[in-house]
Every structure is written in structure tokens, then in C-alpha cells.
Amino acid sequence: MDEKREDGRSATQLRPLSCTRSVLNRAHGSASFSQGETKILAAVYGPRAGTKKNENPEKACIEVIWKPKSGQIGKAEKEYEMILKRTLQNICLLNVHPNTTTSIIIQVVNDDGSLLPCAINAACSALVDAGFPLKYLAVAISCCLSKHEYCIMDPNKLEEEKMKALVYLVFRNSILSVLDEGSKQEGESIENGIITSVTHGVMTVNDYFQCLEQGRAAIKPLSNFLRKKLQSKVQSDVSIAG
């Protein structure tokens, strides 16, 4: 199998990323995130008073609504909603606003592979835009395994369909520290944990761990991109009334 992919990228190269904040002016926070041709629009409304039934009122509640580009809402959308909700529960500080509900609406604008990671990145950017208290950012990446046992990062739809297995990984963003190298030990172990992992297709256990290592390495450029884009811009626009 040739090393070069169809669009000329190397195995670990990501597609061109773009992130625009505050695209919707009625939402409390919104972001449009695109990786190559895959584009997702995320909007955040909240925190609003009251939690849903069966949810813990001592914590903030997060609700995710996933709208596909076309077609009815089915089981796949429900699964994405569940994964996204639990991933965001990991990164949000839920004790700051107890007994509130925050709704995150994901609208798929275009699907060209790596849909779930793009949605997680978009949701994260929208939460930052809304000013929701977060512990750290979630950075998501997808990698797939070819029949010849090598993995490529950020596949597009054609590549996803040809590959034998697919892994979606979400890590916390890499730490940019001003401290010297010696005290990095503690940071290293925290950085290693994965927030979410979803796999499709059969692979060996070693292949999975190899994907994990490659994913961890690919997170750095993505983290830096997000850090640059999500730095607080000058508040020249009028604050949005809750």
C-alpha cells in the first residue's frame, strides 16, 4: 500500500483546520469548526435554571442535541449525543452553577469523515465562547488502521470506508508550561489519560495502543491551534443578555 494518501498528506498529517467563534448572535456561545471538508456548527445556550428529571440537582446538567445534515434522528445520533455529553461532563466544572441546564446543539453542515472528533472540538470552542467554566479543553482526533497495519490520522470519508478499523480519541489539551523541564514529571502523567475512546472495526490490542501513541503525538498541533484561536478576543461587541 502506498505511503502517500490520495490528497497528498503524510500518514500523521491533519487536514487544514479552521475555527470561527461567535457565528450566531442569539446563542450564548457558538463556534464553527472545520477539518478539511467536514464542517460542524455548535451552539451553546445556558446555563439556564432547573435541571432535567433524574439528574443530580447539586451539579450543572449538560444536554446535547445532535442534528444530522439530512434524514431523521436515529440511533446513531443518540449515540453521538451520549458520547458528547459524557465527554463534556469530564471537562466542565459542574459545581460552579448547580441546578442549571446547559444545552449544546450540534449541527452537521458537511460530513467528510472524522465527524465525532470535529463535533467535540466544535462543542469545546462553543463552550469557551459562551464563557462556561472548564477544567481544560478536550482535543479530539481520529485515526484509522489500514489492512497493512499502519495507522493514518484524520481520515476523510473515502479513507474511512476503505480502512479496516477506526479509532476516535479525545485527550485533554497539551500543557504549555513556563516551568522548567524538571517539574514536568507530574504534568506528564496527567497528560497521558484519555477522556474518551470509541472504536469501530476489529484490530489487535497492540494496534490500538499504537494508535493511542500516535494520537497523543498528533494532539500537540491541534492543541496549539485551539489555544491560538480561543484566546480571548477584545470584547468590542455588546455582551449578550441571558
Binding site: 451520549m82 461532563q89 496527567i190 497521558n192 474518551t196
Partner: protein, 303 residues
Amino acid sequence: MSTTNGSNDLSSEMEVDAFRRLFPLRFYERHLLESIRPDGRPLGRARDTTIALGAVASANGSALAKIGCTTMLAAVKLEVMTPKLESPDEGCIAIDFHMPPICSPLVRPGRPAEAAPVITKQLTDIILSSGMIDLKELSLVSGKAAWLAYLDIYCLDADGSLFDAALLSAVAAFSHLQIPVVSLNDNGRIVLISEENSGAMWEKEPVNKEKRKLKLDTLPFSLTCALHKNYILADPSAEEESIMETYLTVVLDSSLQLVSLNKPGGPGLAQTSAIQDCVALTIKRVKELQKILNEAISDMEVD
């Protein structure tokens, strides 16, 4: 059961049950320090598992699987359909997972459980991608008729590890499945040959000679582990799942290849070492489940 009220504050005066309800996390952590769980299991052990095949007599294949108190009833019904144009030699499997209100106080009649469509989708992905069933075996007449297998799984008692029990019952139901004898009648349609008039049917050539079982390549088995700080609890019950909200499900097939590793977020992070430990626990569990399933199948055949 000894009441170990070791804490020094007001909770030392309390009964065990009250302490369990009011401070569930501390109750569990007190047990985890001793590497044991309130029901007496060590951390890496799953609950007692039983499988009963043929639980639904009217279905072509069925199984009742119990892991601890979690009970799942799976049944497979076969129906003839025209295969798709792109794959004229292949049948089809439709999987549905139901959580009726009987299974848990959190499921109410008007409000379907959130977990149900998610588990349905995960089961469909895993059963189709693991290669357990070769869809070509479900074909009858190429291009004209093939079997559509409806797999319905009902949760009768939801006490944690729903996905594990559902997958186990699905695999057991497919192991028990017997494809009935059919023949092509004059109108070109497939009819079922019933037992009584099988003698009279010989002039109409049966499409398949005798009831046969599906040849299953590799069976997928799974284990869910709850992660809490440095502890890994295998096969959490519903109480444990609600307290330690982070869990990880590993699905391996008989040749120990990874079919799925699912960690859907949750408050805790999973380190690589924790994932490796979970995979090791799953490998042990796969061997246990293989044995239990083989025993259940051989019990059926003896009857």
C-alpha cells in the same frame, strides 16, 4: 455482615444502611481500601453468570442471560425477504434492544430510557463488524430470497453492565439458532415446511435439507470496568455505576482481537496502564464466558 464503622465523626453512630445511602462514595472507598466490594467480590471478579438457551419456544433461537441480577432475554426470529441488489447473496440482521419499565425504577412508561438506542447501535456495530455471522449463510436463493434475522433483546432487570449481558444473550441466541426447513412452492415463494407433513413435501424440493445451525466464526465477549482513582472494578452493579461514573467497555473475540474499546467520556481520565489492566481482565473473562456458553450448549444437546 460485620458493621465496620471506622470513621470518627457523626457517621460512627449510624447504621450501615443509612451510611450507605447518605455517603455512598465514602462507603465504597472504605471497602476499596480493603480491596473488596460490599457484595464480597474482589475487585477483578465479575458476578455469577448463567445462560439458559431456548427460553422462548416460539422463536427460532433464544437465550436468557443473567450476570448477577442483570437479566436479558434475547430471541431471534427469521423471516424471508428479497436481498438487496448490491449484495444478492447476503441476508440481513436487524437488532433491537428494549428497556421496558419492568427493568428499573428509572424507566417510566412514557419516557424511553436514554441507554436503549445507544446500546442497540453498539450491539449492531459489534455483531456486524466482529465477523461472527457470515451473512452469506443467511442466503436462500441467490438474488431472490434470503433470511432476515430479527434479534430482539429485552432487559428484564437492569443492575449494571447492561451491554455485557445484552451481548452475551445475543451471542447465546445466535448459537442456539436453528434455521428451519423451507421449500420453493409453485408460485415461486418460499414456504415453511412444518414437521407433520414433511413426508408429503418431498415432491417440492426443499431449499435446505434439514434444520441447520449457523456456523459462527469468532464470538465476541465483553467486560465493563468502572474506573475510580487507581481502582478498577470489573463488572460494576447499577449502584457502583452511578457512584463511579467512569467506565470502560472492552470487547474481545475468541482470538483475543479487539473488537471494540469504548470509553464514552465520564469524569475520570483513563491512563494507558489502566486500559492495559482492563484488557487483561477482559481476556480472563472471555475464557470464563466461553466455558459457560459451551456448557449451556452441550446441556441443550443432551436434552
